[in-house]
Amino acid sequence: MIDFMVVVLVAAGLVFFLGGGVGILRFPDFYSRLHPAGKLDTSGSVLAMSGLALFVLFPITLESVLTSLKILLIVVIVFLTSPTATHAIVDAGVRAGLEPWQKPGGQAEP
């Protein structure tokens, strides 16, 4: 039962990572590429790390509980640092004056 939950969580994290990779590869613009890069990597990390922490937790000893808590600490640090890094990158883009992508022919529309 625990193994099944571990497989489901880690596979869901890999699905999120796959979506982030496809988005980084295929979006047309720097600003729109930041959206999968900042968002899907965070959610993929929390799902995959939760699965790994659940796998490490059993059998329950003091050492395994501490290791599992450390893995969750990594998740907390990723949740703090990944949006900050994304904001720093988009701030650098705005200050450097990069124009956002527009649809070809979109200027004529009202």
Binding site: D3, V6, V7, V10, G13, L14, F17, L18, G20, G21, V22, I24, L25, P28, D29, F30, R33, L34, A37, D41, T42, G44, S45, A48, M49, L52, F55, V56, E63, L66, T67, K70, I71, L73, I74, I77, V78, T81, S82, T84, A85, T86, A88, I89, D91, A92, G93, R95, A96, L98, E99, W101, Q102, K103, P104, G105, G106, Q107
Partner: protein
């Protein structure tokens, strides 16, 4: 269960190659930074998976923790450095940018 984690590590390596394309061929410097940041956040998961494979999770968790902080510092420093630089735009005009007027 070890075979599953080996497959997970291989899939993560393949996805890092996908992000590496953006890191190598990105039109601007910030595109490359986005690709490298994505590779770094996948590497943290890959390190813990390697720790499970080698049955030394208690050691690899510390390495992953240090790598997460180091990746954050590197991306933040690079973003702060490149925002003042000239020449951030790509030399060739990106495909989707609309310039008003035909002459260019």
């Amino acid at each position: 269960m070890q075979g599953f984690f080996l497959g997970v590590a291989l899939v993560l390596g393949g996805l890092m190659l996908v992000s590496l394309y953006r890191g190598v061929f990105g039109p601007t410097v910030l595109d490359r930074l986005v690709g490298v940041n994505a590779i770094g956040s996948k590497t943290v998961v890959l390190l813990v998976t390697i720790g499970v494979l080698y049955r030394r999770v208690d050691m690899f968790v510390d390495i992953a923790l240090a790598y997460a902080l180091l990746n954050f510092i590197a991306v933040l420093a690079a973003a702060r450095y490149f925002q003042k630089r000239k020449g951030l735009r790509s030399t060739k005009q990106p495909k989707g940018i609309i310039i008003s007027g035909e002459e260019l």
